[in-house]
């Protein structure tokens, strides 16, 4: 019941693969993996959520925090491969208007 977290260096930037359920128990694990990536100056971070089948407000809060940190460090954070359920929670809360979320699943192979 822990998150599955893996990072991969890209030609430009880093890709963070996340798998599992992001909730109050697992959100600290996500935070620990994600924050150091976006807290670098001018970093480019892709967060791949393909294997995430559940998220709630605790997880959304981690992404808000990461967005603020990225903004402070002139970094870019982009979420890709969200399933419909996960995408929907970003939409309902309006977070899809402030966080960069790839529209289609195809866009994720960059």
């Amino acid at each position: 019941m822990n998150l599955d977290l893996q990072t991969k260096a890209l030609s430009v930037g880093t890709r963070l693969y996340v798998g599992g359920e992001i909730d109050a128990y697992t959100a600290p694990q996500l935070k620990e993996a994600l924050m150091p990536l976006v807290e670098k100056q001018e970093a480019y971070v892709i967060v791949d959520l393909e294997e995430v089948n559940y998220i709630d407000s605790t997880g959304l809060g981690i992404f808000v925090g990461a967005l603020k940190a990225a903004d402070q460090h002139n970094s870019t954070m982009r979420l890709v491969s969200l399933n419909d359920r996960v995408k929907r929670l970003f939409s309902i809360t309006g977070l899809d208007e402030v966080i960069d979320i790839a529209e289609k699943r195809e866009e994720t192979n960059q």
Binding site: D23, D71, L95
Partner: protein, 161 residues
């Protein structure tokens, strides 16, 4: 017509590792009651939000989360209660909305979306002061593909599937 059919109760420690266990039980019950896939996922989120609030806000020290499912013909009433300190329930009832796109990034808050999600995902939500905070929420069963209640957003989502 709305006679109580079944009542299920559960008490778990107010610790983050139990929120996932509650979700598992919720999905079993919601499945058995006959909710659609999307409704089950909505209920799981709303229940987790309410439980997470107890974990994070109700107790100074240790405590527990009390959960009750009351199954009626047309809906289930979910109750999540704690025995925490007296909370300002009126403050909990203030207007909540989604994030505004014109807000500056540095002004965004990392919290404060839990109750908004509960209100959006469930059909009828009531917050009460009992021993601590009690949240009662209803979710109607969809019959013949028609959503009861006023959850227009969900109806749209379902159409897209």
């Amino acid at each position: 017509m709305t006679e109580l059919q079944d009542c299920i109760e559960m008490t778990v420690p107010a610790k983050p590792e139990y929120v996932g266990i509650v979700r598992l039980t919720v999905s079993g019950i919601a499945n058995r009651v006959g909710y659609t896939y999307d409704d089950i996922e909505d209920i799981k989120v709303a229940m987790a939000e309410a439980c997470t609030n107890v974990v994070e806000h109700a107790y100074q020290d240790e405590g527990s989360i009390s959960i009750r499912f009351s199954v009626y013909q047309e809906y289930v009433e979910f109750k999540i209660a704690d025995c925490g300190q007296e909370a300002n329930v009126n403050a909990l009832k203030k207007y909540r909305g989604p994030i505004q796109p014109d807000e500056s990034i540095q002004d965004l808050k990392e919290g404060g979306l839990g109750l908004f999600l509960i209100e959006t995902l469930m059909d009828d939500v009531e917050i009460k002061q009992e021993k601590g905070v009690a949240i009662l929420m209803k979710k109607y069963l969809q019959k013949d593909g028609v959503a009861h209640g006023s959850d227009g957003f969900k109806a749209t989502i379902n159409e897209n599937r």
